[in-house]
């Protein structure tokens, strides 16, 4: 393992990849900091740049964007009191009051340093858990994969915000869109309307770029002309030593940070929920455990630490099911999966056997990107603040053009651009109808995995469905899926709010 990691570091310290990671982190921070832009969008837009790069360089750039964008949300959360991404909602609770009290630099310093520590902790967990899980997953057959896909799908549909019915519908609709094209096993053409471009189905990236980026541009058009824009306040870094807080303060935060990191990794591993939830959960946990809970919401540094440690700890957590099973835990890892596949790499347990050096290059890139994030974000803060004031009516049309480039570049055909527009319109419809987008995406990605493995599993057990229930692992996952749906149904029928909604309102 150490040898592979050394090789990985050797690769990421080559000048070319080092520059790519540095740029990736910086661009990621900007995407995280500008409200309305997200990590998913950053990766989607930079994917076309990686088409001609090798897998090591391309994937290093993508994970650097992931780390930068997850952390960058804290800049606008603290300076503007607007979370740059959903992962930094809880950062605004105490970050903004600290800013008002003139403790902005301390809030930013704590946020950046604990983002870094959360990321490192989660990468450690990833490097420790993923190879073991991959070993176990090697023995998985179609029965297990089908059950895991169904479990992940129901979990994301039930845990996504809003109504259960809409969440499940979004997931099923995503699955339905994935059935377009040549069917697995029998190679029958389905829903192609004799259009040869549809034989291969819709490309995952056109779906994601459309649903996220194009829909975001349309959403901005709704209010963009009348929106009053908050101007970031200037912040003085004069006379600031280190990261703006003392060693004593740092030591005081360690138990809080450890708890938050564990929450972040744990929630990150589960499919369906990620940094958007874990920052709030760990904030509430920190408040409950604090000796001075009354200070929360009024500028308690613990609040910033809890939120920022947890959201970045989700990075390593979410990468665990992605690398070992090929299952994305959230939309950001879903688009990372797209990035892997463009480079001809299928994440899964075999990845650790056949491409061990690449896996460890990714680990090394994650570690290097975290260190770069620590320094770039804190010491380059003034530049990022300047970028925050780029007007959105200039920024978003350029983003749309980059979406078009990305979709066109997939196969050099305008068909994919049209498909992207279709999904953009659909995504906008989802936003208007209150349907969550994440289950749709995960349904679209996991649908083919579920169907193919269902058909293969049935062939193995001679058409007998009991094969899925007699296999202990698949039976356990199917039972968990059934339990999760029925539990949510019962709570919905009783008219209770779900856990996350309760947390949000408390």
């Amino acid at each position: 393992m150490i040898e592979l990691l050394q090789q990985g570091f050797g690769a990421v310290f080559s000048p070319y990849i080092f520059v790519l990671i540095t740029l990736g982190v910086a661009v990621g921070i900007v995407f995280g900091a500008v409200p309305g832009l997200s990590a998913t969008m950053a990766i989607a837009l930079c994917l076309p740049l990686t088409y001609t790069m090798g897998p090591a360089a391309g994937l290093s750039l993508l994970v650097a964007l992931f780390i930068g964008a997850t952390s960058g949300g804290l800049i606008s959360a603290i300076l503007l009191n607007i979370p740059g991404t959903p992962s930094s909602i809880a950062t605004t609770f105490d970050g903004a009051p600290m800013m008002r009290q003139g403790l902005g630099v301390k809030a930013l310093g704590l946020g950046v340093v604990f983002s870094f520590l959360g990321t490192i902790f989660s990468i450690g967990a990833l490097m420790f858990i993923a190879p073991m899980l991959a070993d176990i997953a090697l023995s998985f057959g179609p029965h297990e994969y089908f059950a895991i896909a169904v479990f992940s799908l129901t979990l994301i549909a039930t845990l996504s915000t809003g109504s259960l019915v809409k969440g499940l519908f979004a997931g099923a609709l995503g699955f339905a869109f994935s059935t377009v094209g040549i069917a697995p096993v029998e190679a029958v053409r389905r829903f192609t309307f004799d259009h040869p471009s549809l034989n291969g189905g819709f490309a995952m990236l056109t779906v994601m770029i459309g649903m996220f980026a194009v829909a975001e541009v349309l959403k901005f058009a709704e209010k963009g002309r009348s929106a009053d824009r908050a101007k970031p306040q200037n912040i003085s870094m004069k006379g600031i030593k280190g990261f703006g807080f003392s060693i004593k303060e740092f030591i005081f935060q360690i138990p809080n940070a450890t708890r938050s990191a564990l929450i972040g990794v744990g929630i990150g591993i589960l499919p369906g929920i990620g940094a958007g939830t874990s920052n709030i959960v760990s904030y509430i946990a920190a408040k409950k455990r604090s000796k001075t809970p009354e200070m929360f919401g009024k500028g308690a540094p613990e609040g910033v630490v809890a939120s920022e440690t947890a959201n970045n700890a989700g990075i390593g957590g979410a990468m665990i099911p992605l690398l070992t099973l090929g299952i994305p835990g959230d939309t950001t890892t879903a688009i990372l999966l797209g990035g892997f596949m463009i480079h001809g790499i299928q994440p899964g347990p075999l990845l650790f056997l056949t491409q061990g050096d690449l896996v460890y290059t990714i680990f090394a890139a994650l570690l290097l990107a975290s260190v770069l994030m620590l320094f770039l974000e804190f010491f380059g803060l003034r530049i990022f603040i300047k970028l925050l004031s780029i007007p959105k009516h200039i920024l978003l049309p350029i983003i749309l053009v980059l979406c078009v480039v990305g979709a066109f570049g997939l196969n050099s055909r305008v068909f994919d651009v049209w498909a992207m527009m279709l999904f953009g319109l659909l995504g906008y419809g989802f936003v208007k109808g209150g349907l969550p987008i994440a289950p749709f995406i995960i349904g679209f990605i996991l649908g083919p995995m579920a169907e193919t493995n269902l058909r293969r599993g049935l062939m193995l057990s001679d058409g007998n469905f009991m094969g899925f229930l007699s296999n202990p692992i698949s039976a356990a996952f199917l039972a968990l899926a059934a339990l999760s749906v029925s539990w949510h149904l019962v709570t919905a029928l009783r008219g209770k709010k779900d856990g996350v909604a309760q947390l949000m309102s408390s």
Binding site: V165, A176, E186, S226, A227, L400, G434
Partner: protein, 157 residues
């Protein structure tokens, strides 16, 4: 009927409509036994239709708005949304014939104008400058550095 309740009805009808549409398309698929390539689409059609019905039931259960309740008014500028979407459609439609560099510059310039906040004056010179520079730099960056040949269209001579 208040807008919120009407919206939920519309969403339910759309959901059911999507389910039925998918079911109709699934019915056209050739069958080759019980578990074949139409098996999963049938299950999905059933699930989609069922969820559409459930959404309609949920709509029926929604409480009627009480008189005097504060109604949240949203100012949604649909005209700008439609204009922006139309612009994008024109942009994509002419992308191959007219070419990426010209269409991108035109699209960006007009889209900047459409999205300019009401309290700001449009700076035509600046907008045109940004549009031209972005279009040219994206085109050449992808062409030279990333081997991605975006359609040159009319400029292809």
């Amino acid at each position: 009927m208040d807008t919120c309740k009407r919206n939920e009805l519309l969403i339910g009808l759309t959901m059911l409509g999507a389910g039925l549409g998918y079911l109709f398309m699934t019915l056209q698929l050739p069958r080759r036994g019980f578990v074949d390539s139409a098996f999963v689409p049938y299950i999905l059609s059933a699930v989609l239709c069922l969820l559409g019905v459930l959404q309609l039931l949920a709509w029926k259960k929604l409480p009627k708005p009480t008189a005097g309740a504060a109604v949240e008014k949203e100012s949604i500028d649909y005209l700008t949304v439609i204009k922006s979407f139309a612009l994008v459609i024109i942009y994509v439609a002419l992308l191959e014939t007219v070419g990426f560099p010209i269409m991108t510059a035109l699209y960006l310039y007009v889209q900047f104008l459409v999205l300019t906040p009401l309290d700001q004056k449009a700076n035509h010179l600046l907008y045109a400058g940004i549009a031209l520079v972005s279009s040219a730099s994206i085109y050449f960056l992808f062409r030279e550095s990333f081997d991605l040949l975006l359609p040159a269209g009319l400029l292809n001579f």
